[in-house]
């Protein structure tokens, strides 16, 4: 009986180096699956935009082509300032068939945003989706 337990201990000591790593690997795998499931991989937006808060619960389709309006009211596509009044520039960058996602800063002036929407209508987009976030409370 004693010999058996001694033999078992000896066996453990031999494998000690890797047995120590196993709980670590368990935790690291747990972290890995947490980040895989909870996070979503997304393109960083080229300009910082803080979205307006809204109680809207509609899903945001991040795969749609996105235009941005920064806090100074500038209109950007892929981080490049573009004049929204020039429809050919818009059509060169985006296709009209698809819905458009407007990622506008909460601090952008209302007149600037509404002006951009008018230009988008004139260029052929009848509806757009505005990106919002839920209030944090």
């Amino acid at each position: 009986m004693q010999r058996m337990s001694y033999g078992y201990r000896k066996h453990r000591r031999k494998q000690d180096g890797e047995d120590h790593i196993l709980p670590l690997i368990n935790i690291v795998f747990l972290l890995l699956s947490f980040f895989l499931i909870a996070g979503q991989i997304e393109m960083r937006s080229p300009v910082p935009v803080s979205e307006p808060t809204s109680v809207s619960e509609s899903d945001d389709n991040t795969r749609l082509p996105t235009v941005q309006i920064d806090k100074d009211g500038q209109f950007l596509i892929d981080g490049e300032v573009i004049d929204p009044a020039a429809p050919d520039r818009l059509h060169a960058a985006l296709s009209t068939e698809e819905a458009l996602r407007v990622h506008a800063d909460a601090a952008a002036s209302a007149a600037a945003v509404l002006g951009v929407l008018q230009h988008l209508r004139a260029a052929g987009w009848e509806s757009v989706t505005l990106v919002t976030v839920r209030p944090s409370t």
């Binding site: 790593i21 980040f35 307006p52 109680v55 509609s58 509404l114 002006g115």
Partner: protein, 146 residues
Amino acid sequence: MTALASTTGVRRAARPKRRSARISLTPLVDVVFILVIFFMLASTFTRTNSVELITPKSGGAGAVSADSLLLVTLLGDERFDIQGSALDADGLKARLADAGDRRVVVKTADGTDLQDVVFFLDLSARLGLKNIAFAADPSHGTGQGD
């Protein structure tokens, strides 16, 4: 002799089997750590939602009687103006609740930002108002919306 040969044969067969079973875990841990760091840096946790907007139609809407319209001016900072009376969010909610079928036309004062517009849209969506239009600024483009 034969017995000895058979025992060494067993030993030889057993030894490489034991070695191949012991795969080192260190490279695995390295790769998994790299994956963890990648997902930590690349993933975002802010969930965004969306509000559907119809872009302003170009061209005037024709003659509409003033009775069928309710003109709301957004002044910013959750202050509003309806026909000359200044209102806060609660006052606006009360006025919009009796708006009935009237079309709500929204003007934005200077200094109003997008957050004020979205706040108004939220409020009217909660009241079930559908017929909202933003008065367009003629200085922006050719489309003078309604």
